[in-house]
Structures are given as structure tokens and as C-alpha cells.
């Protein structure tokens, strides 16, 4: 399962595209795995998008989805 990282999450993990073995059913499960792999992101509040739309942590996901994780946005 492919996951995109942005901003500080990309910097702390050192990659902009990451891969996890299925099955991963929800954003919450995915985030748990990401946090296990990268303990250095423990202080980072994470937001998720599925197919370029904001997704709650309870949102179910499939391998064909475009999944992205990132910290609080700070544009403007």
C-alpha cells in the first residue's frame, strides 16, 4: 500500500513515498504502522487525505486509493 508524505512528515521520515504491506483497513491502522516505523514523528499531529480529499481516521482505505499523510496545514 502506497502512502505519500508531505512537509515536516516527509522531512522526519526521510521519504516522500512509503509502502506498507496489506491488509490495512483504515487510516487509523495505517497511522499506527507509520508511527511504529518512525518513532521520531511522535509529536506530530497527522492529517489524512484519501483520493485528495480530507479523510477521518476511521475512514476505510483500499490499495487503489491515493493516500496521503501530512501535518496541520499552514498556508496563506
Amino acid at each position: 500500500m502506497k502512502v505519500l508524505y508531505f512537509a515536516r512528515l516527509k522531512e522526519l521520515t526521510g521519504c516522500e513515498e512509503d509502502h506498507f504491506d496489506p491488509p490495512i483497513h483504515s487510516i487509523a491502522e495505517l497511522i499506527a504502522q507509520v508511527r511504529r516505523r518512525y518513532p521520531q514523528i511522535s509529536t506530530l499531529n497527522l492529517f489524512a487525505a484519501v483520493n485528495q480529499t480530507y479523510a477521518a481516521h476511521t475512514c476505510l482505505i483500499q490499495v487503489t486509493d491515493e493516500i496521503a499523510l501530512f501535518p496541520q496545514v499552514t498556508g496563506g
Binding site: E11, Q52, Y54, A56, T58, G76
Partner: protein, 149 residues
């Protein structure tokens, strides 16, 4: 109508677009521009790095525009430009412009757009200081904990 770009923008050009698109009923134009503050005497800001999530950034901006067009019936035209990449102190970061029949809606829509942009559109800023240290800006406004799927 919306643009996410590395190059600078001309306020005069965007104002002319707002003024001359469907000019009949337009009685008010409200414009907001955000600039890189230059506190070089204290913070030694060398530049601002702005990153986006390509694709989603445009989708979120379009969603915002559609929301404003629905909520503010008086609004005629909306222009949003946000820059990405490396910006120097005093450079232009973002422009939000609204034309409307009356002033109250022009102001309300313009302020709503920039407030929403800062809390929902996938853009991130990092400060690069003169001493080489880098700091990601943590939040513009109190972080939202829950977003509906």
C-alpha cells in the same frame, strides 16, 4: 480563477480581471494580499519555503470557491493565487480577491476565503533562518482535531 505557482503575481492584473468580468452589477471589490514579513533585525529570516500537495491543493481551492459562490449569492467573481517554492522577505505569498454587488459580502467572502485557506488547503511553510536553521511553522490557528471523512 485559482492558481498555485512559483512565479510572482501582479495585483494590478488580478484587480483588472475582477473589475472587468461581468462588470454590470459589480459595486465592490475586496482584495487581500499576504506578504513575507521581514523581521530580519530579530529573527534573521533568510527565506520562506512553501510546499503543497499537488492536485489536492487545487481541489481544495476549487471546493472553497464553490462553497463561497453558494454561501454568498452577491459574489460575482473570485480570484485566488498562492505561491510555492522559495520566497524572500517582503515577497507576495497569497492573493484573495472578490467582486460583489455590495461591500459587506465582498469583505465577508474575502475574509472567509483566506481564513479557510489557512486552515484547510494543503500548503505548508518553513522558515529558513540566516544561521541555516530551519523551522516548520506549526499552525496558523488552533489545529482542528477531527475532520469528517
Amino acid at each position: 480563477m485559482i492558481s498555485v505557482q512559483t512565479q510572482d503575481f501582479s495585483v494590478a492584473e488580478i484587480y483588472d480581471k475582477l473589475r472587468h468580468a461581468n462588470p454590470g452589477p459589480i459595486g465592490a471589490i475586496a482584495l487581500f494580499v499576504g506578504l513575507v514579513r521581514d523581521f530580519s533585525h530579530t529573527l534573521q529570516l533568510a527565506s520562506l519555503h512553501i510546499e503543497c500537495y499537488p492536485g489536492m491543493v487545487e481541489r481544495e481551492l476549487q471546493r472553497l470557491v464553490a462553497q463561497v459562490q453558494q454561501q454568498f449569492s452577491d459574489v460575482q467573481q473570485i480570484e485566488i493565487i498562492h505561491r510555492i517554492g522559495e520566497l524572500l522577505p517582503q515577497e507576495q505569498i497569497v492573493l484573495v480577491g472578490v467582486s460583489a454587488t455590495h461591500r459587506a459580502e465582498a469583505f465577508a467572502a474575502c475574509e472567509f476565503l483566506i481564513d479557510q485557506l489557512k486552515t484547510t488547503v494543503p500548503l505548508w511553510k518553513k522558515e529558513i533562518r540566516a544561521d541555516g536553521n530551519e523551522y516548520w511553522i506549526e499552525h496558523n490557528t488552533p489545529a482542528r482535531e477531527q475532520i469528517v471523512c
